[in-house]
């Protein structure tokens, strides 16, 4: 059959429209099916220690992002394989999200040792951006909480209540965000920052960090040995005076040893893995897991398979990496620490990481839940791991100043 141009265009239009309608309908149906009414009505769904809801928006709103919009859009499409959507997360019943603020331009646009004195100002802008985003576009789905009391109140509201909102908490990823100025901590504490990750990709004068760029494999990265700097020690001391939780993710074992020596409050490893199962400098030794657990801390298991096991390259982790890697890690941490109470989830979703092959949206958390239910055969334990441990930790430790009584 030979089509005229008009007929051909009509056919194409019909096809596109039907695809769109079909996709929308199927998406809604799938979204509805993803929600388990029973679970979310009686139990907590997820309290995630580490997500990046605004990283894409921050990058695109930067001067470079505005100058080369297509390039950054393409990079986002190719590299940012996981996502979180406010509406979907709200419908799923996700309880709490720690929104990790990270300015890549501060980190990458200078030497690994250099601090950017303008970093604190950029950090405040990121906090502003998140607050604006929630107020303007996600008011029905999320609510920023700025202290433990607000968090506790928010967590009391169940998903079937119209007042239910995801409790969003400010967190900062990387001590470089202070720009070398401890006074910035005061403003951050006032703004309701609950947690700061001491190091990130580079030392930046705070503490040596482990290689965490999967496309830059461990064997290419020089082994970092400096440990925690004096500034890092002062930073931790001031954070604990202000009641900001110390996050040790990304730290090398030497840096973590330094943190354990100078800190006197429970610690968080917001998005980590076990070195026994995934032999990377990024991962935690069993001794470190035990120590964090003994101090009443929380270890958030990252959902990026590359760190959770041993893949010879990131392409194989894309192909084979699954939520089962996370379940194996959770089981191991449970075994080593002797308790499941020290475990949480730090997905790192929307942070330009490749996620497990069966889960690319945070709202698909039910997939992890099912695997954990098979593993532990106890819904209380599953709820603790997914949500309750993290929520209770923040309610009990956020804003608490001074030495832990343990």
């Amino acid at each position: 059959m030979i089509y005229s141009r008009r007929q051909a265009l009509l056919q194409i239009g019909k096809y596109a429209l039907s695809s769109l309608v079909f996709n929308q309908a199927s998406a809604s149906l799938l979204n509805a099916l993803n929600v388990e009414p029973e679970w979310k009505e009686s139990r907590m769904v997820l309290s995630d220690l580490h997500v990046h809801p605004l990283l894409d928006k921050w990058i695109h709103s930067s001067p470079l992002g505005k100058q080369y919009p297509l390039m950054f859009k393409l990079a986002s499409k190719i590299l940012n394989k996981t996502s979180l959507d406010w509406e979907r997360c709200h419908n799923t019943g996700i309880n709490m999200l720690c929104a990790a603020h990270f300015n890549p331009f501060d980190e990458f646009a200078s030497m690994p040792t250099d601090l950017n004195p303008d970093a604190p100002r950029q950090t405040i802008r990121m906090l502003d951006m998140l607050e604006d985003e929630i107020n303007e576009n996600a008011r029905e789905y999320a609510k920023l909480v700025t202290n433990a009391a607000e968090l506790e109140d928010a967590l009391k509201i169940k998903p079937n209540d119209s007042r239910f909102r995801i409790a969003v908490i400010h967190a900062i990823e990387g001590g470089h965000a202070l720009g070398g100025d401890l006074k910035a901590l005061d403003e951050l504490a006032e703004r309701g920052v609950a947690m700061i990750t001491i190091t990130h990709f580079f030392t930046k004068g705070v503490g040596s960090s482990a290689n965490s760029l999967p496309f830059f494999p461990d064997h290419s990265a020089p082994p970092p040995v400096q440990g925690l700097s004096n500034f890092g020690r002062e930073m931790i001391k001031r954070m604990e005076e202000l009641g900001i939780i110390v996050d040790i993710a990304h730290a090398t074992s030497t840096t973590l040893t330094g943190i354990l020596e100078c800190s006197c409050r429970p610690l968080v490893a917001s998005h980590s893995s076990s070195r026994t199962l995934g032999d990377h400098p990024y991962s935690l030794y069993d001794e470190q897991i035990e120590e964090i657990a003994n101090r009443g801390g929380i270890i958030g298991v990252i959902l990026m398979p590359y760190w959770l096991s041993n893949y010879s390259n990131v392409h194989l982790s894309d192909k084979y990496g699954s939520l089962k890697d996370a379940v194996r890690t959770i089981r191991h941490i449970c075994k080593i620490s002797g308790t499941h109470k020290c475990i949480g989830i730090g997905s790192d979703f929307a942070g330009y990481i490749p996620g497990p092959k069966e889960m690319h949206r945070l709202s698909d958390i039910h997939k992890l839940r099912e695997l954990l239910r098979d593993e532990f055969d106890d819904d209380d334990i599953v709820e603790d791991i997914l949500a309750r441990n993290v929520s209770e930790f923040f309610v009990n430790n956020w804003g608490v100043k001074g030495k832990d009584k343990r």
Partner: protein
Amino acid sequence: MILIKFRATLIILSFCLSSSLFAFDEVEHRILADSVFESTIRETGAVNKHNSILIPFGQDEIIIPRNFGGLGTFGKLVAIFAADDQKQHRFHRRAETVLQQIRRIEPDEFAQCLSAALSWVKSDSSAPDKQIVESIHSDNVIGTYLIHHLAALRIAASMNGTDNQQFSKALVWEAIAQGYLADCFSSGHMILPVHHFISELQMKDRRDADRHHSLTGIFVINAAGYVWQAFGDGALLWYQPSYQHVFEACQSSLREILLMFYQTRGVALPEKLSNWFTKVGHAMSLAKAIDSWLTIQQLDSLYDTPFAPTLLPTLQYLPVPVAAAWSTDSEEIVIDDFHKRKYYPQLNELSARDTSLYGIENEFLLSRDDFPDWMVAPPIKDSLASNPQKLIKENVHWASVAYVQSLSPVISFEGLTIDFGASWVIDHGEIAPSIGLGYGFHDDLFQIRNLGVGLRFYPKSSSSASSALSAFGAIRLTNPIQISLLKIFETIGGETGVVSELEKSGNFGMHLAVSLRSKPHSFKSMHLGLSFEFAYEALTIFSPAINIHQFSARLVLN
């Protein structure tokens, strides 16, 4: 004429450049061996003296020249004898343990090696004949290393000449062995397709595997309980953990020569050597070990002992690829009081492995029978009928660790290809067959990649009064664009050439084609790949004017 000379010069230069690029292995062998030699010989208290090395030897001293065999330093000697890098006997056997590979040594092979070594020792020649040496080997690199190393030990033990001469000659033969030992640790030499007749025609299977795995790395395990990511030719000096393991093994091998030399002459061992043997020997008697090195007939008994470690300490360092391991605490401290883990291989038997692991290469989970007893993880050994999942879930000291890596043969575009196809001729609506033969150039020959030539035969059909033969050049680009809809296709290709009608001589024309080829599906461990190709072809005969446009689907064997 000038143009011809220029082109010829370019081709020759390309050839020379490409040859020198593949000689990079020589540099690595030389640097590694020289470093091993210098650091190990110092453990005897040796000092340099002009062009010689002075080694304290009890009440006397031994003086050996720095110029070994008249060929250069120890490292230079290793590099010279390791030049046949792509030979089959420089590679591991695929998916076999160290014990299995040692068991492959034929008694004749060992006897031949010993005979050649001792004959050379008695001769006046300063260095062994390279051709003779290269002809003495087992069918794998571990076996070949072992027979040469045992021969070097025998030379060190024999009293045919003066101490100076004997020691020097032992070192020369040990240099031959050390080339094989270094290759044991090269990831590019660990994964090999099964040897079959097609690979006799072209060495590309070993070269492809060598090139690919050398740079991407392979997780390996050894009897000493270490797991690491090994790299190969071209990356040996780059990654310190990988380099450290091969360095330690080469050092251990040289120390065995020193031990043999001192012990057989009743001279007290230097303190460092003695301490080293005490550490690796785990209370094994040196006299018993040396006796076994000299007299043992069943060579696998050196490895398959009733107790750990092996009778020949170097053997415990030899790595093989690992798919999954049992990991336990060890006493060894890594850094800041954190304990290193010790690893045992998971086995093929269901009761000896974690069946919940996925993505691992099951081919590399090997049988319990092919490991010495002391290499089986104790909790697995003690209760083989038990459920390993219980161990994983309940025992805080043990963990199951997966190593996900691609150990399948790497099929490249290069070398011989055969294709069988069917074409749908657009204007005539009929299906016509074709058969083609091609050859992809190796980049080490012409410094060019992804170019090839081919011949394709199109039999007579209703759309063409004559059969046709096309001779063309081809270019193929692999993974140029990641197009989500076309994920099954890996290569985009183009062909251009001359087509001729066979029944009507003098009728020539042009052949143009564009194609999409899928990723090759490999036949288990054979180095053959089968791909699907879809192409659009245009065959044009100039006179009389005939234009044939067709869509073709082909199976390509490569």
